[in-house]
Subunit: 154 residues, 2 copies
Amino acid sequence: MTQEIAIQDQIPGNHCFGCGPDNKHGLHIKSYWSGQGQTRCEFRPSDFHNAGPAKYLNGGIIATVIDCHTICTAIADGYLQAGRNIGAGEKVWYATGKLDIKYLAPAAIDIPVFLEAKIVERSPKKTVLQCSLRSDGRLCAEADVVAVRVPGDW
Amino acid sequence: MTQEIAIQDQIPGNHCFGCGPDNKHGLHIKSYWSGQGQTRCEFRPSDFHNAGPAKYLNGGIIATVIDCHTICTAIADGYLQAGRNIGAGEKVWYATGKLDIKYLAPAAIDIPVFLEAKIVERSPKKTVLQCSLRSDGRLCAEADVVAVRVPGDW
């Protein structure tokens, strides 16, 4: 089920370079639920987000969008598991504990990339996710991410 | 031995967001040899490079500077192993194959971070590196990186 409002637009107090709605030079990625424990994101790079070769998307930007997409998925899921809407009641917050990325193929700079994340493990202290990133239908990166629960005032 | 000219300022045709000298909105990191097979880098974040909390450095930016610092180390080492100065003769080029990062502690947004990389394995096809990132003397992230040799026209 697609929700109309992106997860990032419901998370309070998020200044993040990758996904904070108000970050003045940020990437502003938007993530949406696509199924139970699964989310999707489309990101269109700017021309200066390139790798060494100008035609490819930068590996650090790929890491950034994977990081944000998965951590925001963990946050949204944290609210869901607590039976609350995102942003309602006590703040749910996660930080990145581990980010393991395999780069399988280059992604072009001039077309969007598509990310899919799924939650594979969940405990009170952490959420484990897998994430794929595709460009033009080709799998370009796969990641395993550990999102660590931190206090709301982290 | 510290060289006066950064590795990135000697690599030809590098448009990278993280380390390309001419990227208009890039991070412009600079890496220098600090010992045999070892390099160092100091990076001062901009105020918008923050994580969800405005006081911390973004995890994706941390991944980006680790990626660039280690890949540029692999490129510089490739030239060294070939007995050539960086940029001389046939182009030496590496792409990121794997980037595994453990985030151990948050890094403050308003002070520089310091990276140290070392080459731990080297073959014709790939170079394996370890990298640490410190802020205010504290170890904030550790990474294992596989740099894959790609053709000069990659």
